[in-house]
């Protein structure tokens, strides 16, 4: 099967680029793969595994297109292609709100954004869209209005990395296939260094207690709460260090938070790391802090790696990061009013009990080794793609039927009725609704 994989590749800052680069090698042993990128010259040579790189504006023909979609501007070209050439969408995030916002409002097309919000989310979408378009939407609303409607309508099948994505996509796709593909674990260092080795390599104190927040530090990672708790715990554990292993959003006042929490010099912010050092930081940690709220349906690749390294990880309960793993392999912290107190109690317990930390780490490593192995997840993906390819003609016909009236008055009416149906709790409108609407437009019942 000729497979066109659409995704940015390293050194793109998107975590999805690393994910795809890791998958390409095993996938190319099962399919005839070429990778579609915006600029082949910008791709790190090792990331492509010697596979052909083609430009997005001249992708050529393929038996199947595989679109890796994430909620960021670096996936904009993938999004545009996914709408134009139906293929299999890998939804790394369920919400594509920021991506669509970038494609519309940030390019001066406010009306286009409001149209999309109306189409996807009805009256509430229009109301919220006006707020968001004026930059008055806050952080949570984009997560609650995923704005992925157009992609779900246009794709032949969906691959989701979390049950959160898969369960929601399945309701929308009805007759089209959906695959739950656990996020694979891939560790570039063999063997993974021990805690002591990693600390020596990174220059971290050998006997300190280290809490590590891996990946890009953003507002959604609850670092304000985590630093407050770390500050209080540092009064009892003088060697405590809080390491932010990755780059940070410049708007986050991490140093001020740490100072206010009394952590002061106990905060270490590494800046962007290469994959090897990133894994060393995971190995050097005693506990991983991987809280996240709000969620866009994503699972953190950093979290999966941390579990693969065998470190206990704190995650936000009720989010995909918690739901993808059995309790005991990860440590859920409920995000409600007790979040801070719970985080403090759990961390206090973990820091005081090395054996407990080791047990949880061992359980985590065993779980991801059994269920998130790269070779088996890629094999599963390849089988799924073969299955989709086998039914491609029927799937394309179904997508074409759904999109036939797009841009017409009939299409507009269908979108309005479809939203009304969803508002009533229905998954979609029956196909015959278009006949009824067409009759109404002709003036006949």
């Amino acid at each position: 099967m000729k497979l066109a994989v659409w995704s940015p590749l390293p050194p793109s800052p998107s975590g999805i680029a690393d994910y795809v680069a890791e998958q390409l090698g095993p996938l190319s042993r099962r399919c005839d793969v070429r990778v579609v990128v915006e600029d082949p010259a910008a791709v790190a040579p090792a990331a492509a595994h010697g596979l052909p790189l083609v430009r997005a504006d001249d992708p050529g023909e393929a038996d199947l297109d595989l679109y890796h979609l994430g909620n960021s501007a670096s996936h904009a070209y993938v999004y545009r292609a996914a709408l134009a050439r139906p293929g299999v969408a890998v939804l790394h995030d369920y919400s594509l709100h920021h991506l669509v916002l970038g494609e519309t409002v940030e390019r001066g097309d406010r009306t286009g954004y409001l149209d999309e919000m109306r189409r996807a989310h009805g009256e509430a979408g229009t109301f919220v869209g006006r707020q968001v378009a004026r930059a008055l939407g806050g952080d949570l609303l984009p997560a609650l209005f995923p704005l992925n409607d157009r992609v779900l309508d246009s794709c032949l099948a969906v691959v989701g990395l979390t049950r959160y994505v898969v369960s929601r996509a399945a309701v929308r796709l009805r007759e089209r296939p959906v695959l739950h593909l656990p996020h694979h674990v891939a560790l570039p260092l063999h063997p993974v260094p021990s805690r002591d080795e990693a600390r020596r390599a990174l220059g971290l104190p050998a006997h300190a207690l280290i809490l590590t927040a891996p990946g890009l530090a953003t507002a959604s990672k609850r670092l304000d709460v985590a630093l407050r708790v770390a500050g209080r715990l540092a009064a009892r554990h003088h060697s405590l260090r809080f390491v932010v292993a990755g780059d940070r959003d410049a708007r986050l006042p991490l140093v001020e938070w740490a100072r206010a929490a009394g952590l002061g010099g106990g905060l270490v912010v590494t800046g962007r790391l290469g994959l090897d050092d990133f894994v060393r930081h995971l190995a050097a940690a005693d506990v991983i802090v991987a809280l996240r709220f709000p969620t866009h349906g994503e699972i953190s690749g950093a979290l999966v790696r941390a579990l693969g390294v065998g470190r206990p990880a704190l995650v936000t309960a009720g989010t995909p990061s918690a739901d993808e793993f059995p309790e005991g392999c990860v440590i859920p912290v409920t995000p409600g009013v007790t979040e801070e107190a719970e985080l403090e109690a759990i961390l206090s317990r973990l820091l005081a009990d090395e054996a407990l930390r080791e047990t949880i780490g061992r359980l985590a490593r065993a779980h991801v080794t059994a269920h998130h192995d790269l070779a088996s997840t890629v094999a599963r993906l390849a089988s799924f793609l073969e299955e989709v390819r086998g039914g491609k003609d029927a799937l394309v016909a179904e997508v074409e039927r759904r999109r036939a009236s797009e841009g017409s008055l009939l299409g507009y009416l269908r979108d309005e009725v479809r939203w009304a149906a969803r508002d009533l709790g229905l998954a979609d409108t029956p196909p015959e609704i278009e006949t009824v609407l067409a009759g109404l437009l002709r003036g006949t019942p």
């Binding site: 952080d139 959906v178 709000p294 918690a322 009013v337 109690a345 759990i346 359980l363 269920h371």
Partner: protein, 210 residues
């Protein structure tokens, strides 16, 4: 709908290891202990922070008074017209002509004297009228300059207040957005927590012997 799940069914059907059960139970105990002593009622300002102070413009000073209108200059005094300018002393020709002229002047003296006197007073009156008009215009200009200057300063003050109002409005709208976002987040986090607690409870109930 064809959905291929991996993990959940296996997860549900897999017999939990003793270790994992023990860890999960331990974590559950910690959470419940926290929940039992948690102060669910929180003061709004603990969550929302203090509302930003509202910047209020100082009371605008009253527009400056235009001042008392200066009294108009006194009207020209008509009595002065009667204080005649005497030109009768002007010298005439000499000899016979002079004699004749003196005779004529003597004969015409009353009329000439009156005319000269009138002319002189007319000139004087004209000068006084010009002075009056100059003074009057200057006073009028001074008065309206003061009035316009006062209102100009007042309008400037209004502009300043509008600018403050605009900045305050923008700041408060943004603050409001943050607060709405926070309230929404609190409720969404509460929802996730409750769902998690319910799921946990359901799982424990299922494990109990029937």
């Amino acid at each position: 709908m064809r959905v291929q799940f991996r993990g959940r069914d296996e997860k549900g059907s897999t017999v939990l290891s003793d270790d994992r059960e023990r860890v999960a139970e331990e974590l559950r105990r910690i959470r419940e202990a926290v929940r039992d002593r948690a102060l669910v009622e929180r003061r709004p300002e603990d969550v929302l922070g203090q509302a930003p102070a509202v910047r209020v413009a100082e009371a605008a000073p009253p527009p400056p008074s235009a001042g008392e209108v200066a009294p108009p200059p006194p009207r020209p005094d008509a009595a002065g017209v009667n204080a005649l300018w005497d030109v009768r002393g002007a010298s005439g020709p000499r000899g016979l002509k002079g004699t004749l002229a003196r005779l004529v002047r003597r004969f015409m003296a009353p009329a000439v004297d009156a005319q000269v006197s009138f002319n002189a007073r007319q000139v004087q009156l004209d000068n006084e009228l010009l002075a009056y008009i100059d003074a009057r215009l200057e006073a009028t200009h001074r008065h309206y300059d003061a009035v316009l200057g006062g209102y100009g300063r007042h309008l400037e003050d209004i502009d300043k207040r509008h600018l403050i109002l605009q900045e305050e409005l923008v700041a408060h709208i943004h603050d409001l957005v943050k607060r709405i976002d926070l309230v929404l987040s609190e409720s969404e986090r509460g929802r996730l927590s409750l769902e998690f607690a319910l799921r946990d409870l359901r799982a424990r109930l299922e494990q109990r012997p029937r």
